[in-house]
């Protein structure tokens, strides 16, 4: 049945690249050498490292980690902006009532999903390796996460918006894949397939939030 050829790409791309999150490839994004933004780098270094340390700490209970992530997320990420972004084109047409319900459902969903995802990688140390200013107030900070269960260090980029000493993460890239952009495609496709009805997505998120993560 599996008449497949023996180059490593067969399995590698069929499966690893399935969601681009496999551990073998090193697809660091090719970012131009631009101007650096030290304050944005500092922002990523400190709170991001703290969240990663807590999630990687084996002495903390799942409930403790959850509480830390719940509190830390607003310090780290611009949740309202991300909430708007992931709706894509539907951010223009959603009603105020739907927006309120979506924001609540998305928050619960995202906390559960991203906490699991960060914990899964068990990295322990985050090191900022540089940054690129896309335009003033919009910076990509490049980091390497290593240690813990990671076989080899992974490159993670953080898109941060802000200025001065006030910055917030809006997107994270790993293996070339931006999480918020991918999330947007997921949600927009779901709403498209529901004939443009955002309520279908909202109820789906509410259902998923109650479902325990598959292990």
């Amino acid at each position: 049945m599996t008449n497949v050829h023996p180059t490593r790409r067969f399995a590698q791309l069929a499966l690893v690249a399935l969601v681009g999150l496999g551990v073998m490839t090193q697809a660091a994004p090719a970012l131009a050498q631009g101007q650096r933004e030290p304050q944005a780098e500092q922002f990523v270094q400190t709170p991001a490292q703290r969240v990663i340390s807590v999630l990687a700490d084996k002495n903390q209970s799942v409930a403790q980690k959850k509480a830390t992530f719940h509190q830390g997320i607003d310090e780290l990420a611009d949740v309202p902006r991300i909430t708007n972004f992931v709706l894509g084109k539907y951010a223009r047409t959603i009603t105020p009532d739907q927006r309120t319900r979506f924001a609540a459902a998305f928050r619960v969903y995202a906390e559960s999903v991203y906490q699991n995802r960060i914990s899964d990688y068990h990295g322990e140390t985050l090191k900022v390796t540089g940054s690129t200013v896309r335009k003033p107030g919009d910076v990509i900070v490049n980091t390497t996460i290593s240690g813990g269960q990671l076989g080899q260090p992974v490159q993670v980029s953080w898109r941060v918006l802000g200025g001065g000493t006030a910055w917030k993460v809006v997107d994270v890239q790993f293996k070339g894949v931006w999480l918020a952009i991918t999330q947007q495609q997921d949600f927009v496709s779901t709403i498209d397939n529901a004939g443009g009805n955002v309520d279908v997505l909202i109820s789906q998120l509410q259902r998923d939030a109650q479902r325990p993560a598959s292990r």
Binding site: N3, P6, V16, V19, G20, L21, A27, G176, Q185
Partner: protein, 297 residues
């Protein structure tokens, strides 16, 4: 058997034209990436979505029935360090194919690093079980024919979810066929039907599935796993191709939500409208005004 034939047939139709484009087009190594909207539209280009969704559902069912249980069994009986050795061994066997593509892409430094890695890891690294070269600062990188085509300007074309094989696009599907027929280790090992070939295939399939386990879990948590996989695969591949072209990724402005249907982006409030320029400007004019503005940039 039939699956690979279908895959090869579907992609070989486009092979000649894609190859022709690759060889005819002048390399433009530092061309700017297409703008963000175009970039995303290319990744989402999925005219075969009906077939692809069926294929995706079938493949995921097969994964749950066969690949996942086998992989989880493997992960249960082997400690993590052992699995890392297996990954390194499988990866090392792919280095000659990486070298070939480094050369075809006109990247002698990368080709040199790949050669050094293969030589060091195959000897000092005990047949590739240990990535000694990475410890010496010679880090790994990937290269395949899909990337080589992309480096010379070939666009991804329609998205394709091939049963069992997984996500592809036309460009990378053709690339996969080329990878198969040119893989030096595969050729030296008498093809995939030899005992060596079968062992290698089974090993790397399980190894790759194990390494992708977290990704599969992430898909389980998506609302539309099919769309999520398509987006992630496309972004991953385009990132690999930017690595070869040196292009910088164009990202959408984070607050700029795409228009519902029409591709024409309406002008922002701050843009000047010619008709209004005749009217006297209020003293508190928008800062985004015309070239007459004396502000230094």
């Amino acid at each position: 058997m039939a699956l690979a034939v279908i895959a090869a047939g579907g992609t070989s139709a486009a092979a000649s034209s894609a190859h022709a484009r690759a060889t005819v087009e002048t390399p433009i190594p530092l061309v700017a990436a297409p703008d963000a909207a175009t970039d995303m539209a290319q990744i989402e280009y999925d005219p075969l979505e009906g077939f692809n969704r069926g294929s995706y559902t079938f493949s995921m069912g097969l994964d749950r029935a066969v690949f996942r249980p086998v992989t989880h069994g493997y992960m249960a009986v082997t400690p993590t360090p052992v699995r890392h050795r297996v990954s390194a061994f499988v990866y090392n066997l792919g280095e000659p194919s990486t070298f070939l593509n480094d050369v075809l892409q006109g990247k002698p430094k990368r080709a040199g690093r790949t050669t050094a890695r293969f030589a060091i890891n195959s000897t000092v690294g005990v047949l590739g079980l240990f990535d000694v070269a990475a410890g010496m600062g010679i880090r790994s990188h990937d290269a395949d024919f899909g990337q080589t085509f992309g480096r010379y300007g070939v666009k991804p074309g329609p998205y394709l979810y091939v049963p069992v094989l997984g996500p592809l696009n036309f460009r990378d599907g053709v690339g996969r066929v080329f990878d198969f027929f040119t893989d030096p280790i595969g050729l030296a090992g008498q093809g995939w039907t030899s005992p060596f070939g079968i062992t290698r295939l089974v090993t790397q399939t399980i190894d790759t599935r194990a390494n992708a386990d977290l990704a599969f879990r992430a898909l389980d948590q998506a609302v539309d796993p099919y769309a999520t996989a398509r987006s992630a695969y496309g972004q991953h591949r385009e990132a690999l191709i930017r690595e070869a072209t040196g292009a910088v990724q164009e990202l959408p402005d984070f607050d700029d939500v795409p228009a519902a249907t029409d591709p024409v982006v309406p002008p922002t409030e701050t843009s000047t409208v010619p008709a209004e320029s005749a009217t006297p400007q209020p003293p508190t004019a928008e800062p985004a005004a015309p070239a007459a503005s004396p502000e230094p940039q």
